[in-house]
Each structure stands twice: as C-alpha cells, then as structure tokens.
C-alpha cells in the first residue's frame, strides 16, 4: 500500500535559532541585523515549500537494500520495511539559487531553512508511520537514509525502485542525487522485534548531521 499526503509548511517547527545552531553561531546570529534577516527569510521560505510526503510498506524479503553493517544492525529483525520520501518541491530549490545570487546571507539562510524543513517533514512522516505500526502492535526503528552511517548513496536506486515511478515528483540523477534537492528518502524497519536504537554518532565525523544536532 502506498500512502501520499501534503504537509502545511506553517506547521513545521522552524526557527532562526535552529539556523544559527546549524551555522555554529550564537543563538541570535551574532547581531540583531542578521537575526532579522534570517527571521524574514524564514517567513519568505514557508510559502515556497510545497511539502509532500509518502511511503510504501513492503515485506522485508521483497527488497534488498544493501545498507552496510551499521544500518543493517539497526534493521535487524524487521519483518517489513517502510520506504519513504519527503520533498519541498522544485520551486524551493529555484528560490534558494536565486536568493543566493542576490544575497549570500539570504541564500545561505534559505538553503539551511530548506534542509531543516525537509528534516522536520521527515520527522512528521516518521511519527505517522510509528503511530500506524503501533496500532498494529508493531515496533519501528528510527528512519535511516542512504548517505549516512556507511549506507552508500547508490542505495537510493533500490529505495526508488520500491516506490511508484515519479513518486512525489522526485527523481534520481545518475549519481543518485535527488531532484528536487530538498528531499529526504529512507527506510523505517517495522516488526515485533525492532525498536528505536540510538544513532551510532560516536563512529561518525559529520558534526553538522541533523541527527547529531537532535542529540539522538
């Protein structure tokens, strides 16, 4: 079964403070002007997001994700896999590019806000999947994405093959990059013997990783 839904950008919990945290800045960006620019960019960003999310649940035997050992251990025991996709839509990418050409600060803020927004949208999707699984008495792993924890980005091919063609308007480039750029794909393991385990951040050097920022 494939599920698709839209999300209101206004409902995504975004803040200038999160942007500054991603930039390793003081919570106010260092000065009132910068804070005001990021606040304004945040306001301008929301109407440009056409947030779509969706997922498909498959029997774990139907799909070979070649996730590598770290992700593989997280998914161990899953009887089914929920392959998911979230995107802000193509208009947002174009807005980031044009903002950057106009003003580097606004462009960088728009870029970071987009990254945070699509992660928040994925968070909401994860919550919906968790609730659905819980209703069936099943546990869920955390959401896991190619590119992280040793799962090669080439793993995108298997994920996209499990979804309907052109799902949510997202496509893969020959090097497995998603277009629109502000998209997140991944998998959630489901079953009676799975649970959310901490991300293995101690083994990874990516300080800017969204999972690490959440302290997961």
């Amino acid at each position: 079964m494939t599920v698709e839904f839209s999300l209101e950008a206004d409902g995504l919990p975004l803040s200038a403070e999160e942007v500054f945290r991603a930039w390793h800045c003081p919570p106010d960006g260092g000065n009132a002007f910068v804070e005001a620019v990021v606040e304004r960019t945040l306001e301008a960003a929301r109407p440009r997001m056409a947030v779509r999310a969706g997922y498909r649940r498959l029997d774990a035997r139907e799909i070979d994700l070649e996730t590598g050992p770290v992700i593989g251990s997280q998914l161990e025991g899953a009887s089914s896999l929920v392959v998911f996709l979230v995107t802000l839509g193509p208009g947002y990418d174009e807005w980031v590019r044009s903002s950057f050409r106009r003003d580097p600060l606004v462009g960088c803020a728009a870029d970071t806000i987009g990254s945070l927004a699509v992660e928040e949208a994925a968070e909401i999707l994860e919550g919906r999947v968790d609730a659905e699984l819980l209703g069936e008495g099943l546990g869920a792993t955390r959401r896991l994405s190619p590119g992280y924890c040793g799962w090669d980005v080439a793993g995108q091919a298997a994920l996209f093959a499990a979804l309907p063609e052109g799902f949510l308007g997202v496509r893969l480039s020959p090097s497995f990059m998603m277009v629109p750029l502000k998209s997140v794909s991944g998998v959630i393991g489901a079953g009676r013997r799975v649970a959310k385990r901490p991300y293995p951040c101690a083994t990874c050097g990516i300080e800017s990783c969204s999972r690490r920022r959440r302290g997961a």
Binding site: P104, V153, S175, M177, G205
Partner: protein
C-alpha cells in the same frame, strides 16, 4: 590618497557595507559602501590590481582573521562577501581573465552523489575575495566533468568537496582522474569528514579546517 581610499574600501568590505543604500551595518547607514568606494578609487586612478589586492582582498583577510579567532561567524563572512561582490561587479570589467592582480583560477565543486554546497560556496566566496578567479561547477560533479573543466579553464588549483562519509569515497577516484588529466595540478579536498590523513592517503594536495585557512595556504604557496 590612494592608501586612504584603499583602507576605506577594506573597512567597508570587512564591515559588510556593500552599498550606500545597504541597511547593514546600521551604524553606517547612508555612508558609502564598497561599491561606491571602489568606483571612487578607480576614478581617482588607483589601479584595478591595487583595488583588488589592497582593498577587497585586505578586507576579506581581516574577516578571515576574526573568523579564525572565533570573533566572527558565518553571517559576517557572508555579509563581507556581499560587500566584496558589490565592489567586484564594478571591478570585474577592468580585470581581464588572467590579468595581473589575479592569482589565477580555482575550479571548485562538490563530488558526484553529494548535494551539499554551503561549505563549497563559502570557500568560493573567500577565494574570490582573496583574488582568485573561481569556477564553481556546483554539486554532484563527476570526475569527468572536473577533468573537462581542467582542460577548459587551465586552473592553478582544484578544490573538491564532500560532506558525507559515503560520498567521500568519490574523492579518491576524482583526485586520481585529475592526476591523469593534469599531472602536478594540486587538488585539495574538503568537507566535514575529511582528515589530513585521508587527504594524504588519496594523494590530494591537502585539506584545511575552513575556507580562510585554505585561502591563506594558497596565498602563501604563491
């Protein structure tokens, strides 16, 4: 006169004052910005090379020093870059592609499979501010595309970026491809997971903790 105007230009760039109408910094509202000061310097007969080196580059260097000391953050670098761009728009037509005053060309890009470009964009702006001509190939750039750009642009340096531990795996083959394409061309690598040991292992010329350290190194390397 020349010295004063160039100091003023460096101040405007370092302070992020782009144009007279720019609202930043609030305490300099209504004052000339980098764009106007650049035009005034050129009109006063200051050479474009001096405007670039002693005005724009000096201003960006100052921000870099503050950034290195932890006194400035990314937004200030971006505001300074905006001021630099505003002046550069007037200066560019006066500076030929490889004219004196320019250090040469740097080709930059994020490797195949990786879409992260914030760090790479910062490097591009800082290098531009340090007097380099920057050819930014964007994100998801294949080794062949880098090689093509090297043939077309004849850069003095190439910079490869990767943010993910998994896409970092593309750095080695890209360095190798460029070594075949242009033996002796320094290829630097960067990104959160990249360490000096990794850079050395894949045969890269080096890696640096931030854009300013990279620019400083290239400046010292001549």
């Amino acid at each position: 006169m020349t010295r004063e105007i160039l100091v003023e230009l460096a101040d405007a760039v370092a302070g992020g004052k782009a144009e007279r109408d720019s609202p930043y910094p609030p305490e300099r509202r209504g004052e000339d910005g980098a764009a106007e000061i650049c035009l005034a310097a050129l009109a006063a007969g200051v050479s474009p090379e001096d405007v670039l080196r002693r005005g724009l580059v000096a201003g960006m260097q100052r921000v870099g020093e503050r950034f290195a000391r932890g006194e400035a953050f990314i937004p200030e670098v971006l505001l300074a870059a905006k001021a630099m761009r505003a002046a550069l728009a007037h200066l560019e037509p006066r500076l030929a592609k490889e004219e004196a005053g320019r250090r040469g060309t740097v080709v930059l890009g994020t490797v195949a499979g990786d879409i992260h470009d914030l760090g790479k964009n910062l490097v591009g702006m800082v290098l531009q501010g340090a007097g380099w001509r920057v050819v930014d190939l964007g994100v998801d750039v294949s080794a062949d595309r880098f090689a093509q750009a090297v043939r077309a642009e004849h850069p003095r340096v190439v910079g490869l970026s990767a943010l993910l531990t998994t896409t970092m795996a593309h750095l080695g083959p890209t360095v190798e491809r460029l070594r075949r394409e242009a033996p002796g061309l320094p290829v630097y690598v960067g990104g959160a997971p990249v360490t000096p040991e990794f850079a050395e292992r894949i045969g890269a010329a080096g890696t640096f903790p931030d854009a300013f350290a990279f620019a400083r190194h290239l400046g010292e390397a001549g």
